[in-house]
């Protein structure tokens, strides 16, 4: 069975190579079909392996395949291989399944774009990298995937490169992620130094019994978490994700909602043993998660760009997932990751369908009343917003409430996490329905702008419908005991996740059911309240919105301007660094080394300048610096 494991990643790699190398001989359609078929291949292999898994007893659910030994010399033996266990199975299915639907959708969405072959080759490359990330049995391979998805994200954000702002957005994502990656690398070095291996399972085996101080685990997990914060857009490194919306909408759905951005949550779940040994880190993860969830939700309320609303909502939902893993409820985090992939993928694709119908318009203020024109998009998106809001019976309800319950039952004074989570859930319901109502109901603002909205072709609506079904049904694999279920999802993942002492796991399994039901009731009431409020403000009395905005003056301005975080970063970090680079450049390059050479189109000036420089003896300048170096070295040697 394990022999077929490599096929999961091989298919997208082949798709990438075919589209990348032979793209020019393929028609637009063929290119899309090949890319989709490649992902379908991965999906089928993963699904087949998962089905085989379900027939096995829990402890036998592990497949490993070593592809080759990377550097088999001395103590440095890195095995490159894949590991298929319940956790990576879930991830591989989400990545290839949701990925497949988004690939198919893209065939319609990207039709007529001159770069469509390049687009599909990047998309396949991304899938390949992401599958490597989730299947890796080794932190080095995982890091390779981690960097790879970042690279593809960068390439796809800047896909429409004509636009300066879009190119900048890609760059911003890239730079912010480098900060996080620095943490990841240092964590890898520390782990290797300590354990002599980077195999995930070997580290997990050695760590609990090792005679190492707590500080080591706190440090390494914090550094890993720094990587996760960058990749999964949490405070303070979330600023890149809203800008990343500059890419094509299916890219936002695949990379910036369903898969890549959740890699940070996966990283923590994958290394749950290490994190369980570092309670301090866990608390930080939970607190950062809930704060992010809350703040991003408050920003989402006032945004007018449909994709920006969804972007902040993604940041907020990721915050929930981090809260879950931070309180030790790893399976709840992964559960929400999965349902989120369904409904957020759906919402993005739905938004893409609206944007497609309006010829690229993304501003909510130019929409409204689109219910008749886009019927399929309308009802599928209704499912999506209901799922994310957490209406009972839909997938988001089960996963979100499991997180809230885990937060609540985590003692040691963490129940305020629950309170913040509930408030955020209310806000979420409000802003998601705001988006929904402003798009499909109310005054049809697009008429003034002269748009002729039309429903998208079926190649785009069929993925929407399928995702809508998943958004409804996806939660039923994890029905909690309090509602009479057995939470199969949790039990499926249980063998590969650590048990974090003092929480969660026990509480999730043996809850006081009455209390849990009560909390579910509370959250449902809050959510319905949020929806009703959105209905009042945006459907019944549209003038209310502006009134409110005025009355809330300062708060509204803060939220609308995203708390001025971008501006603060620019002032505190970007500008000083630019100044430093500029300064070094000027000083070394212009003052000390050479000025005019860099400018083009001044050939004559340059030549005359060059002659003048030789005559004025700039070489003496260089020589004197060499002399200074000599003096430094000699003084050092003497003093020592």
């Amino acid at each position: 069975m394990a022999e077929t494991l490599y096929l999961i990643t091989l298919f997208p790699l082949l798709g990438f190579l075919i589209n990348g190398l032979a793209g020019r001989w393929l028609s637009e359609k063929q290119s899309g079909y090949i890319a989709s078929l490649a992902v379908l291949g991965s999906f089928l292999v993963s699904a087949q392996l998962l089905l085989a898994f379900l027939a096995l007893p829990a402890e036998e659910r592990l497949l490993t395949q070593t592809l080759f030994s990377w550097i088999p010399v001395g103590d440095l033996n890195i095995q490159v291989g894949y590991r298929f266990d319940p956790l990576s199975a879930v991830m591989a299915l989400v990545v290839s399944g949701v990925g497949l639907l988004i690939h198919i959708y893209s065939i319609g969405y990207m039709q007529g774009d001159p770069g469509v072959r390049r687009y599909f080759s990047f998309l396949n490359l991304f899938t390949f990298m992401m599958l490597n990330l989730v299947l890796a049995d080794n932190l080095v391979l995982m890091f390779l995937g981690w960097e790879g998805v970042g690279l593809c994200s960068y390439l796809l954000i800047g896909f429409w490169f004509e636009d300066e702002a879009k190119a900048r957005a890609g760059m911003k994502a890239f730079i912010v992620n480098r900060i996080g990656d620095a943490g990841f690398i240092v964590a890898l070095i520390l782990l290797y130094h300590q354990f002599g291996t980077l195999s995930i399972s070997e580290i997990a085996q050695a760590a609990p019994g090792a005679q190492i101080g707590r500080g080591f685990f706190t440090a390494t997990t914090l550094l890993m978490f720094l990587g996760a914060v960058g990749k999964s857009a949490q405070i303070p490194l979330y600023v890149w994700l809203p800008d990343a919306m500059a890419g094509p909408t299916p890219v936002s759905a695949l990379i910036h909602a369903a898969t890549m951005v959740t890699a940070g949550v996966y990283l923590i779940a994958r290394n749950s043993v290490l994190f369980s040994l570092a309670p301090a880190t866990m608390s930080i993860v939970a607190v950062i998660g809930i704060i992010t969830a809350f703040f991003a939700a408050t920003i989402a309320i006032t945004q007018n760009d449909i994709k920006k609303v969804l972007a902040y909502s993604t940041i907020s939902q990721l915050g929930y997932m981090f809260t879950a893993v931070g309180v030790g409820a790893f399976s709840a985090g992964i559960f929400h990751l999965m349902t989120h992939a369904f409904f957020k993928g759906l919402l993005f694709l739905g938004a893409g369908s609206v944007i497609h119908g309006l010829k690229g318009e993304q501003d909510l203020r130019s929409m409204g009343g689109l219910k008749e024109q886009l019927p399929t998009t309308h009802w599928t998106m209704l499912v999506g917003v209901m799922a994310i809001a957490g209406i009972p019976g839909l997938s988001g309800f089960f996963s979100k409430d499991e997180i809230l319950w885990a937060a609540f039952s985590r003692h040691e004074g963490f129940s305020w996490l629950w309170l913040a989570g509930i408030v955020t859930a209310g806000i979420t319901a409000f802003y998601m329905f705001r988006l929904f109502f402003r798009t499909f109901y109310g005054k049809a603002a697009w008429q003034e702008a002269g748009y002729q909205p039309h429903e998208s072709p079926s190649v785009m609506t069929i993925p929407l419908v399928l995702l809508a079904f998943l958004s409804i049904l996806g939660g039923y694999v994890g029905i909690p005991a309090a509602l009479g279920g057995v939470n199969q999802f949790h039990h499926f993942l249980e063998p590969v996740l650590a048990v974090y002492p003092g929480v969660g796991a026990a509480a999730v399994q043996h809850p006081s059911q009455g209390l849990e039901l009560l909390l579910m009731g509370v959250s449902t009431v809050v959510v319905l309240g949020g929806i009703y409020y959105a209905y009042r403000v945006y459907v019944q009395q549209p003038t209310l919105a502006d009134d409110l905005a005025q009355r809330m003056g300062l708060l509204h301005r803060l939220s609308f301007n995203k708390y001025f975080v971008d501006e603060a970063y620019h002032l505190l970090i970007v500008r000083p660094f630019q100044a430093l680079a500029e300064g070094l450049w000027k000083w070394f390059d212009i003052q000390v080394v050479d000025g005019a050479v860099n400018g083009s189109g001044h050939a004559i000036a340059r030549i005359s300048g060059a002659i003048r420089r030789i005559q004025s003896g700039l070489i003496q300048h260089y020589a004197s610096i060499i002399l200074l170096g000599v003096i430094f070295i000699l003084i050092y040697l003497y003093i020592d």
Binding site: F68, W70, I71, P72, V73, L76, R118, V140, F143, L144, E147, Y154, L155, G158, F159, F161, F174, I175, R178, D181, A182, I185, V186, I189, Y192, H193, L580, A581, E582, L584, W585, F588, D589, V592, V593, D594, V597, N598, S600, R606, I607, A610, I611, I614, I619, H621, Y622, A623, I625, I626, L628, G629, V630, F632, I633, L634, Y636, L637, Y638, D640
Partner: protein, 480 residues
């Protein structure tokens, strides 16, 4: 001198004879002169065969020359570099109608110099090799006589090179004065019996030697010449200049440090630490601002010198191995990158700016792919060999457990993260921007082998590094 002495320098002799033949051909042969390049390549191939036919171990010429796995490993790098430089030069020189025999002859003389630097076991031979390398380079940098920039670069290189050579030679003299020896082993013994890096004369001698090496491998603040010279030189020469001599400089640096001065590390590590940290930081940060690819790659090679200096500083078996691996990969990658630049730059170096790379993927998919691979490897992404090189060097430093070394590695990692930015800029331009003109670039078939070797080493040794690891381990082993 015996026959075995002569045998030990057969590869160098073969190259010298080839170079002389080329000089004669230059006088008698009318253009076109395609045979020059083939003659040079034939000489290099012969030298390579002789290199492998030689007895591997031993000291010759009264111990002044040492043949071991170390020298062989490096000589192979030098010959590959030289062959690559020849192949890149063919289309380049033809384009500018400067195809002349002395070009290849000078290249071969410089190669002989590098080979002596790696084989040297005595400071006098080292100095001889250094000069044999430098003098042809001064000429080659100014090979475009009619170009002011080429001349300017040549003059700068000559003057500053002479200046630093002065320090180097003075350092040797001082060391000889205080220890009575120029032989590596004898110097070590003198220092060991003497105890410390004193008297002052030894100290000063060592310090000046350090300056000479720092200049040759372009460590900050002795790097000032590098960007100017690299930019002014004909690009085919820049390709050679930023690889071969740098590798030779580091090889000699490492060997002298480990063989003669390892016992005195505590006296000088601070200097190398500061130089390494400065070099990588200044190199990377300055490279960010460069729009001219040649200049960007020049600063990139300064930055790489900083990483390599870490290996010299650490000076363990592991770090020496890491450096061997790093040098091999670095040389091929940088050579290939400059090779692409040389092919693209057009007549009179019109498209050296990053804008000239827009949409290159469409104009020449092959060159774009090669250049991307080179950039990715220089940036140190897995699974390229560039990643492994960095990994070996840095992990050797971490393994010493010395806090200062670990901090240096942290600085190095932060730096390589910065470097990703400018390495990916041309990639973005090539793949994601529209070309200014759509005409396909003519591809020179002659240069193709250079690029294939690059692919082979960067990806082949990135994924299956064992062969290179084994040779590297053997090479490092010869030093201990």
């Amino acid at each position: 001198m015996s026959w075995s002495d002569l045998n030990s320098t057969l590869p160098e002799l073969a190259l010298a004879v080839t170079a002389l033949i080329l000089l004669i051909l230059e006088v008698v042969k009318e253009p076109p002169r395609a045979q020059f390049a083939w003659t040079a390549l034939g000489g290099i191939a012969l030298a390579l065969v002789l290199e492998f036919a030689l007895p591997i171990e031993g000291q010759f010429y009264n111990g002044m020359i040492a043949l071991d796995h170390f020298s062989r490993f490096l000589n192979v790098i030098f010959m590959i570099t030289a062959a690559g430089a020849v192949l890149i030069a063919v289309p380049y020189l033809r384009k500018s109608l400067e195809e002349r025999g002395e070009y290849y002859a000078l290249l071969l003389f410089a190669t002989i110099g590098m080979m002596f630097m790696a084989k040297a076991h005595d400071l006098t031979i080292l100095f001889l090799g250094l000069e044999l390398l430098s003098i042809p380079l001064y000429i080659l940098v100014g090979f475009y006589r009619h170009r002011v920039r080429s001349n300017e670069a040549s003059l700068k290189y000559l003057l500053l090179g002479a200046f630093s050579t002065g320090f180097f030679l003075f350092g040797i003299a001082l060391l000889y004065g205080s220890t009575g020896a120029t032989h590596y082993d004898a110097i070590r013994q003198a220092i060991v019996s003497d105890g410390q890096l004193s008297p002052a004369m030894t100290l000063a001698g060592f310090g000046l030697l350090l300056v000479g090496f720092a200049f040759k491998v372009a460590l900050v603040p002795f790097h000032m010449y590098a960007p100017d010279v690299y930019e002014g030189a004909p690009t085919a020469i820049t390709a050679f200049l930023s690889t071969g001599p740098k590798v030779a400089g580091f090889a000699a640096f490492l060997k002298v440090i480990i063989t003669s001065f390892a016992v005195t590390t505590q006296h000088w590590w601070g200097i190398v630490w500061v130089l390494a940290a400065l070099t990588m930081t200044v190199g990377n940060v300055t490279a960010i601002r460069q729009d001219n690819l040649k200049r960007m790659l020049a600063f990139s090679s300064v930055a790489h010198a900083g990483y390599l200096a870490v290996a010299v500083l650490v000076g363990t078996y592991d770090s020496a191995f890491g450096m061997m691996f790093y040098l091999a990969v670095y040389a091929v990658t940088t050579l290939g990158a400059f090779g692409v630049v040389a092919l693209i730059e057009g007549e009179e170096e019109t498209s050296l700016e990053i804008d000239g790379y827009r949409g290159l993927a469409r104009r020449s998919p092959f060159l774009a792919a090669i250049f991307t691979l080179a950039m990715v490897s220089l940036a140190g992404f897995p699974p390229t060999a560039g990643f492994l090189g960095k990994y070996f060097v840095f992990s050797a430093a971490v393994d010493t457990g010395n806090t200062w070394n670990i901090w240096l590695v942290v600085i190095a990692i932060l730096n390589s993260l910065i470097s990703v930015y400018y390495y990916l800029r041309p990639v973005v331009a090539m793949y994601m921007q529209e070309p200014a003109d759509e005409t396909p670039l003519p591809m020179s078939r002659v240069a193709v082998p250079v690029f294939l070797v690059l692919v082979l080493i960067v990806l082949g040794f990135g994924i299956f590094p064992m062969m290179l690891v084994k040779s590297g381990v053997a090479a490092a082993g010869s030093l201990f």
